[in-house]
């Protein structure tokens, strides 16, 4: 029994790392631009499908490298053409816009690639378990965790060590002052949006290797990401990371005792956090 709980706890952390990857992209965009990006799941699906299309030509690794970049390019365009116009307005406007985009992306992928789930094969050596006792540690899942950690590490380095990152963080705290100091806020927001969408694209390619790739893959994964942000606390990237790991682990452990509640538990956690500590675990007081 203890072994079963430990297995599921560890396994839950693996899944949690994946949720966190997706939630971090959402969180980045939310923090700097105040846009709740509902289309994040749509971008995720597009990332997966682009990889699926590219794979026969440049292989899995090429697709993994290129598809998120292309997704980010699409993100930059969407920000430039549509989302930018709504920054000054009530957040409801951008919310409605991205809400509509989510539908368009889902039906767009359905139109381009069809409603049927497509097989997305990963390299054989990645899809086998590393040991027969810890069979849930497949090469692919370990790779996902490593990649998620590398991405998170790179993101934190970028935010703390580079000029762009420092400006993004400063903008998150006080965009007006940053602008007065001569930083081009439009470009800053544009790049930041692209960075968030890059993470969505990356999560999309990884998800396609683990789940069936179909147009609704994004909408199935976006809810846990929102929950991760709310639990972790709005405005805090470490909080988002923690939120993701926490819901993954909780969902895994609950499966041992009460399997049909494995999904409901994350919403219960969200409810509890909102009741006891509304700003979330690491959210700043009063900011939101």
């Amino acid at each position: 029994m203890t072994q079963l709980i430990l297995y599921n706890l560890f396994n839950g952390l693996i899944i949690g790392a994946f949720y966190a990857l997706m939630a971090l992209g959402l969180s980045l965009i939310l923090n700097l631009s105040g846009v709740i990006n509902f289309a994040h799941g749509g971008f995720l699906a597009i990332g997966g499908y682009l990889a699926y299309t590219l794979m026969p030509h440049i292989g899995f690794w090429g697709a993994l490298a290129l598809a998120p970049v292309l997704t980010a390019a699409l993100g930059l365009m969407v920000e430039r053409i549509l989302i930018r116009r709504l920054y000054g307005r009530d957040p409801l406007y951008s919310l409605l816009l991205t809400f509509g985009l989510a539908f368009m992306f889902e039906d767009g992928t359905r139109y381009l690639w069809g409603p049927a789930t497509v097989p997305f094969a990963i390299p054989d050596w990645l899809s086998t378990p590393l040991s027969s006792d810890f069979f849930f540690l497949t090469g692919y899942r370990m790779f996902m965790v490593v990649l998620a950690f590398v991405a998170v590490l790179a993101l934190f380095l970028l935010l703390n060590r580079t000029r762009l990152g420092i400006r993004i963080r400063a903008g998150t705290l006080d965009l007006e002052t940053v602008s007065v100091l001569g930083v081009n806020v439009r470009i800053l927001r544009n790049l930041n949006f692209g960075l968030g969408i890059y993470l969505a694209g990356l999560a999309g390619v990884l998800a396609a290797g683990m789940l069936g790739l179909q147009p609704t893959i994004g909408s199935a994964l976006i809810m846990p990401s929102f929950v991760a942000i709310i639990i972790g606390g709005l405005g805090s990237l470490p909080g988002t990371l923690m939120g993701g790991l926490l819901i993954g682990a909780a969902s895994g452990v609950v499966t041992v005792f009460f399997p049909s509640a494995s999904e409901a538990v994350i919403y219960v956690m969200m409810g509890l956090v909102l009741l006891v500590r509304p700003r979330g675990l690491l959210g700043e007081e009063g900011r939101f």
Binding site: A116, T117, T216
Partner: protein
């Protein structure tokens, strides 16, 4: 620059409201155009075109469309042209399905109602069609009670009951693969009744149920369930999912290497699912309700060719056949009785045999009188990595007669109440 550019009065409440709205996205659906005319016989199809079951619903629709085209080419129903009206029921929101079912009958005034893929929706729509006295053929919702405790005088069903599916494969699993079974079951009517069916068989054979877990409908991650299942060390792990859930579960089971240590099996399996899996994940023992490769059965090849024209070369699945057979049933019975009166047609359908060009399977399928369940053939076999053709992904080991695996009418719980 205007000060407003920086106003970021977005709050936690907005984010939470937004998150609620994000959940709603999954249930919203596109509006589908419908037409009306007095001298036309209308058949209404209420099926999921978005969400988890979108592909299954769409395939049923293609089958219906082919049937309608053929019926019109042969003179229509009672000499009148036939038109198919389609409504998207969504995959999970029964309220929407019911509302659209009412719309089809009350506003569009359809003469026949077809649908639904989702069992819960099939039951709910059965109540609607019964209240509004329309002949209703359930295309692809499998839970037992549709032709059991929830049966109605006006409701018939083409696809099998879950009990027929489990009965047809249970014996093979028990004798060939072992007597200790573990169930992973989707948490809704379809999964529950499949599990009950297998449990009844297992008890009769004297086997052991070493564990059973319910997974939420639409779950993406099955790893925690698989960890639990392997810890119980069963002979057979039984997956009772459908559609995307089945794809996700099997994909993860194979990545974990569980197929090398346990026998993987289940009841209903569909070509849509096997097509979506990479070759190494096409594993397990299953039941197909119809299969496109039946060299000795008349008219199957023509049907396959016709469907391929409409799908860009993809072969028909059981879903295409469900839509096709349901639509043809309406036309055949109305033309035989020279009437559109639901009461009269329902009476005539009791015991009605599908002709070979619609049946497309051995053993003369017919609608059983007591519970209105079609008694077709079932195809027990195993998934194969690749067959003689790209879409030949299932090997039929045995064709089972529906009458041999269905519960007798007296045990279905169906008490048919005559129309008032």
């Amino acid at each position: 620059m205007a000060n407003g550019v920086f106003s970021r009065n977005i709050g936690r409440r907005t984010v939470i409201k937004g998150a609620v709205a994000a959940g709603v996205v999954q249930f919203a659906s596109p509006f589908i155009h419908t037409a009306r005319a007095a001298d036309i016989v209308k058949i209404g199809l209420n099926d999921p075109l978005t969400g988890t079951y979108a592909e299954l619903g769409k395939n049923e629709q293609i089958g219906c469309e082919l049937a309608v085209e053929q019926i019109n080419a042969k003179g229509g129903i009672l000499g009148r042209k036939v038109e198919l009206l389609v409504e998207d029921s969504t995959s999970a929101d029964t309220g929407t399905a019911v509302q659209k079912g009412r719309k089809l009958i009350e506003r569009d005034n359809v003469d026949f109602l077809l649908g639904n893929v989702n069992s819960a929706m099939a039951i709910a729509l059965g109540q609607v069609s019964n209240e509004l006295k329309r002949l209703h053929i359930v295309t692809g919702g499998h839970t037992d009670s549709v032709t059991g405790s929830d049966c109605h005088w006006n409701v018939f069903r083409v696809c099998n009951t879950t009990r027929m599916e489990t009965n047809s494969v249970a014996k093979t699993l028990f004798t060939k693969y072992g007597k200790r079974w573990y169930f992973i079951t989707p948490d809704y009517a379809f999964g529950h009744t499949l599990q009950q069916g297998f449990e009844a068989s297992l008890k009769a054979f004297g086997g052991t149920e070493v564990g059973a877990d319910l997974s939420p409908l639409g779950a993406t991650d099955y790893s925690s369930y698989l960890i639990k299942a392997q810890a119980a060390n069963p002979d057979v792990i039984i997956f009772l999912h459908a559609g995307q859930d089945m794809i996700n579960a099997l994909k993860q089971a194979v990545q974990f290497g569980l197929d090398k240590r346990f026998h993987i099996a289940g009841a209903q399996q569909e070509l849509e699912v096997l097509n979506a899996l990479s070759p190494n994940a096409r594993i397990g023992t299953w039941v197909f309700e119809w299969y496109w490769k039946q060299p000795n059965v008349p008219h199957v090849a023509e049907f396959v060719a016709e469907i391929k024209k409409r799908t860009g070369g993809k072969v028909p699945t059981a879903r295409h056949w469900f839509g096709y057979a349901s639509t043809w049933t309406c036309a055949l019975i109305a033309n035989q009785e020279k009437s559109l009166d639901a009461v009269k047609l329902a009476k005539a359908l009791e015991g009605f045999k599908l002709p070979p060009e619609v049946a497309l399977m051995p053993n003369e399928p017919f609608y059983r009188a007591g519970d209105h369940q079609l008694m077709p053939s079932l195809y027990v076999g195993h998934a194969v990595e690749s067959g003689s053709e790209p879409e030949d992904l299932f090997h039929v080991d045995e064709v089972v007669k529906g009458t041999d695996v269905a519960l007798p009418v007296s045990e279905t719980g169906c008490h048919m109440v005559a129309p008032s």
